[in-house]
Symmetry: C2
């Protein structure tokens, strides 16, 4: 039975949202709905209009036999900025301050709606860069990596600081942790990243940048390339950064442990 336009629109919207960065042939939809390709094209015009008006992302239709339709998630600049500003307000609470100048983020980074928006914002920046994998370090970066990977529709890999016997053979590297000046070790399972990968590094919080540099070296060990580095928040009050080649969504500009106060603002993602 032929499926009605209204039902097709609902189902196609669901399908496209669940298959970002994937080229879907019009034949697939035409067969699924027992409808003419011309009808499918008209449906896609409607979906494209609504997606683009509402800032969900881009719908491209590629012509020809190898063509089809592809949804690339994105977010309008102002919406991203408003959202992160709102998170900044939410973060500015003295209860969040922890010893050592760290900030309690587990509630924020354990909220699925927040993670989805963070994932969407970070993924939008790299949407045209052919990222093939997202990398982070255990444990707190994992939810961000997963959210970004979801929008880019690529796998994510988790570098570990502790040695686990349940990962098979690993590649391990040493790196200098800037905050403690100690030599530390990180490991990644050998089979988890193919050579020639194009890797986006993400993490929750960056102080000195030592961990991020460690991940860069790790990516080199796997004969792969670092496409970019984006962290959720950075400690902008430390001036002994080991890297400046990264993007942050949020800057923690000032921490006053004595008076338990902090100043938080937009990160370099939003620098003009």
């Amino acid at each position: 039975m032929k499926i009605k336009r209204s039902d097709r629109l609902v189902d196609m919207t669901h399908y496209l949202l669940n298959h970002p960065h994937t080229l879907i042939s019009l034949t697939y939809f035409a067969q699924k709905y027992k409808s003419a390709k011309s009808s499918i094209s008209e449906d896609l015009t409607i979906i494209k209009r609504t997606f683009e008006t509402n800032g969900f992302g881009i719908i491209e239709t590629l012509p020809g036999a190898a063509g089809g339709v592809r949804f690339t998630p994105s977010i309008p600049w102002d919406e991203a900025k408003d959202y992160i500003n709102h998170l900044c307000d939410y973060m500015t609470s003295k209860e969040r301050l922890l010893p050592g100048g760290y900030v309690y983020l587990s509630d924020i980074l354990g909220d699925p709606e927040v993670l989805q928006q963070i994932g969407r914002i970070i993924a939008a920046k790299y949407k045209d860069q052919n990222v093939t994998a997202v990398m982070t370090v255990a444990t707190k970066g994992v939810p961000i990596a997963q959210a970004v990977a979801n929008y880019l529709n690529v796998p994510f890999v988790i570098v570990r600081r502790d040695s686990k016997i349940t990962e098979g053979s690993t590649v391990s590297i040493n790196y200098v942790s800037g905050s403690s000046d100690r030599i530390e070790k990180m490991e990644l399972s050998k089979r988890s990243l193919p050579s020639g990968s194009r890797v986006l590094i993400v993490d929750d919080f960056m102080k000195g940048g030592g961990t991020v540099n460690g991940m860069r070296s790790m990516i080199e060990e796997f004969d792969s390339e670092t496409v970019g580095v984006t962290v959720f928040a950075e400690a902008a009050y430390t001036d002994n950064k080991e890297t400046d080649d990264y993007v942050s969504l949020i800057r923690v500009n000032e921490i006053d442990l004595r008076n338990r106060a902090m100043k938080v603002g937009l990160g370099s993602y939003f620098d003009e």
Copy 2:
């Protein structure tokens, strides 16, 4: 300007998919689209039909002033079974066998599409149980917890085996790791789980069940209740289980380390 039905259908589908388990008033949609509530009701009839025909989940419309529409994600039994059977085939490879009877799962649990399906399948089981938080233990359980939390639209909390200074004050408990017979310690940040929570425990792989029992004790320490336990895979070949009150998606029924062979089948989720 009034928004056309076709455009409303696309936008409402997106909105409902992104706000599962949330009651949305019809007034919200009516104002957003400058349309009559009766038109919105008709739209929802179409969306309900398509969602239910395709097994995305349930659309309920609650009447009255405090009413509205709610999307509860689910998955048809057969689709879940087929999907997990397909994962079982994919898992049955001697390359996955690791020393100690563990199975390499990092690729599967680092794939956003797989995680979404696993999250959807687990969330479907607990959709009517008023879960208020999902709990797991670092690190490998985190992606599953996040995926489930996403579909249930509740926060997830991560119990840690290592002490971290960046979490603030914590509650720590001791538990017996069945596989090693050692006393181990796990910790959860004090502020991460409100008392009176209804918690769903998830994890990637269960051998003895010691870790799961540890999480149960942890939940009691927070004056909260364990609603259920679901693991992605269980080692069904060990008979010294410390708990039988759990659900698995996949059973690893047999491991032959000498010949590097394993047998994998559907877990107790699918027991009739």
